[in-house]
Amino acid sequence: MAGARLSARVKPGPPLWLLCELTYRCPLHCVFCYNPTDFAMQSSELATEDWLKVLREARALGAVQLGLSGGEPLVRDDLEVLVAEAHRLGYYINLITSGVGLNETRIRALKEAGLDHIQLSFQDSTKQMNDFLSSTRTFELKSRVAALIKQFDFPMVLNVVLHRLNIDHVEAILEMADRMGAEYVELANTQFYGWAWQNREHLMPTRSQVERAEAVTQRYRDRQTRPMRIFFVVPDYFERRPKACMNGLGSIFLTVTADGTALPCHAARMLPGLSFPNVRTASMSEVWYESEGFNHYRGDAWMKEPCRSCPERGRDFGGCRCQAYLLTGDAANADPVCDLSPYHDRVLAAVARAEARAEARPEAPGTEERPLVFRTPEASRALSGAER
């Protein structure tokens, strides 16, 4: 490979970020959820002792930012126990929640256990759209939870996943966040994995929607009076270079899923031909340093052209392996978000279909209409082929 200096195996640094997806049970049924669509087929959840072992071993390796997520982590009644141990170990602990199940008793217990901050999701700025998109009646409950988070003096990150059905409401979403006293707002455009991949045709915004939302966000930043950091995560289908996904697989990020599977990214389970270790049988050191699932995409020896000889490969690491797999069928290809990818037209075609849809033109050939799929155990089993 002329001009390409490839490193076979890079000695990784520590797994600084640990995400524990404590459960896939969730009271919400969001259409854009990144959880695997086969979650209902997975084996039993880890026990409290398993999670405590994960926390201790990962901390010893150097993990320091801890996300407790799901599903809905509040479904676990040992959440307070896990938070207390994580706090004792020195983690900075983030609870990522829909708010369902967070009452005054539990939030007080979590505060006492040492929880550092709370990321609360909203689906939109109105009751009607929030409740439609999550297929639940949760808007008023979430609003009460936002008030509880402030009452107990947690820093609040308000997270709203954006897509074509709510992206035009960005201004109202920001005003809602401001009213609720959020310190941070994440306007996270949908990434198309899991359930969002199933619903991509419904959720993909148009370019003008994205540009308008960005402009509205910037105007809001320019005139805001209360300090509130606003992150606008651009949908990568509209970019010409891929995101530096996970800063490269196996470089800083480690997810443990509800059934104990350890992954270098929360979507990586879909990658074919790789075996991922389970924390029931492997230590976190074996997981991080020795397992095939974490080593395979480290460094750049796995890359194909155009990444392999690309001067930017050290910056974006070829983008997202899951996106490469979903869109090209080969996880070692360049993320087709990159306009140097020979498959970039597939990204453009998905965006073009969104434009066509907005203009109410007939759908492009081969894209038959199908209804929104809500994230439910029944839909999960159906998508996994277990039900007919």
């Binding site: 150097g62 930012q65 900075y92 983030n94 901050h117 941070y184």
Partner: protein
């Protein structure tokens, strides 16, 4: 941004941040919601003395004593100004 910073000011870590030493990184880090700033040695040594009780002058004296050196006033003041601007520090 940091008008009012004098040798008698008492800087403290802003309450949304947590400062701690991370052996795995060999560095002090500032932790905050979904982020982490790895500090170089001098930044870590200055910030860990910003307790809200010590004055800027006392912090400087203590650093000069700890590192057996002199003439750190400007360096410490400039970093504290920077950290105030970044909102890592507030004046107690």
């Amino acid at each position: 941004m940091s008008e009012g910073l004098t040798s008698e000011s008492r800087p403290a870590i802003e309450r949304r941040f947590r400062l701690q030493f991370e052996p795995a990184q060999g560095a002090h880090v500032l932790l905050y919601p979904e982020g982490m700033i790895q500090l170089n040695q001098s930044a870590g040594e200055i910030l860990k003395r910003c307790t809200g009780t010590a004055t800027l002058a006392e912090i400087t004296t203590e650093l000069e004593r700890a590192f057996a050196t002199a003439g750190l006033t400007t360096q410490v003041r400039e970093f504290v100004e920077y950290a105030l601007q970044k909102q890592w520090l507030v004046l107690a």
